[in-house]
Subunit: 321 residues, 2 copies
Amino acid sequence: MNILIIGGAGFLGQKLAHQLAQRGQLRGQSIARLILADIQPPTVPKAPFPVASIACDIANPADVAQAMPADVDVIFLLAAIVSAHAEQDFDAGLAINLMGVLNVLQQARALARCPVVVFTSSIAAYGGEVPDPIFDHSFLNPQTSYGTQKAMGELLINDFSRKGFVDGRGLRLPTITVRPGAPNRAASGFMSGIFREPLAGVPANCPVAPDYRHYYLSPRKCVENLVKGAELPSEALGQNRCMMMPGRDWSIAQMIAAMTAVAGPKPAQLISWQPQPEVQAIVGGWRHDIRPQKALALGLEADDSFEDNIRHYLADDAPQP
Amino acid sequence: MNILIIGGAGFLGQKLAHQLAQRGQLRGQSIARLILADIQPPTVPKAPFPVASIACDIANPADVAQAMPADVDVIFLLAAIVSAHAEQDFDAGLAINLMGVLNVLQQARALARCPVVVFTSSIAAYGGEVPDPIFDHSFLNPQTSYGTQKAMGELLINDFSRKGFVDGRGLRLPTITVRPGAPNRAASGFMSGIFREPLAGVPANCPVAPDYRHYYLSPRKCVENLVKGAELPSEALGQNRCMMMPGRDWSIAQMIAAMTAVAGPKPAQLISWQPQPEVQAIVGGWRHDIRPQKALALGLEADDSFEDNIRHYLADDAPQP
């Protein structure tokens, strides 16, 4: 079992690498080798198998060819230009989120074997004038370039799989919170920042109103679901191999109340409420009333409560005082 | 009003060119110039305005730049590798139906003005395990490479329009019948051939059963709808600028009965019924129970009966005996 994580330097890629190191196996086989690829060579976790780290710009087919060994069994394709970045730099979004995905799939197709490819799509693929609730058969009507490129990636995953070139599966990620580390250029950044920073005693701004609702999942559950996504049998996936990953629908106010229930009243007092129209323009089109029936039936899971998200963050990621 | 038809040598491109020559105006303005572009230079119709013909491979950005003048107001983007061809030659499908569309949109974006772009998508964008009937908000779950590439083109049309780069509109064409001329490589070819050839006294084979149902439109109505699509005001299009073009749901048996009603019993006797599994594998995934509410509300139209399709063909296209 040889595994490649593309986007292995990102926080999900790193968590996934640690999870694989702990498990030691995937799809019932011992892991022989793990390769982490990203635009900069990723940090390598301690593991009971060799782990390689390689620089790879997926917009460059030669880089992809170099990062992908002929004997790869499972590819996690996590690399992306995130939402606000893709909105600001349209061509970079196309180069990474569309052409990069195509480059990875074409290289995988060229291998003698048919590798499993786990592709992270996004809740941002939903949007526009599609009626609530969102079901598995709701139209993907993205209202951002990021969501558009993710929806196109899903179509490629499905078609390359239908042709037998790869054994693809795509999971539309909810907004992942509480995300550790420094802010990135995702428009959803504040959805982690208003918890992460105050829990460390640092002020943070919330650019939307307390009644803003969205759909969330903890990093811990997300990584578990990515592993389950890799382990699903091909024949369980049907005629659309992409689906919403389960999450939970919360308002900002509910999430702050959960933080207060777990960590006391002080963190919430560090949140300011300056509206940011450019953030609202992106996240205002995102959805929250979502019924991920297919993924739930296949055994993927959401958190039980947002208190759990906060507890997972404090246990897994919060800097120790 | 300067117009470019990309795919101007195809039968729809030629019919559209003749229609524009007859009208002399579009979107309330006199047509000053028409350019027909295709892989081979298209035939030029007689018109009350200058008509140019140019060779253009849309997979080649330099060709697209040469074909698209800086003062173009309306672009009809009809060029495509058709269904069976895209299924057989996966890379040609990607090159023309995905990268070609991207090349056209990038060139249009580079212009100082924001041209109207009318993109022909396809009923083949529907498919798979999506429940009937198909509404405007049904998931696009194509089961062919052609349908996949058309669905990706729709996403690009929407995103380039949302960004203000073009004023795009996409129309998912029903199967167009009765199509004149020689057979092409579309899996739907027989859906014209079993009428066109027998009406000329030539035998034809039907590779599916008489109860096979699908969704059809005559070339005449299709061209009228393309012109209407170009004339729709941008603000009427909402958050998804792509929609199903209206058609009618008929069985093969109903269509043959209509031919018999118009042209007598002899043509139907020239139809043989040899099943073709490779054709069935493609067209078996296509849909027929479709409710194109958005397009109907915007004034686009279907034929009144399949007898009309036959009559339109005999009046507009059938070779004179």
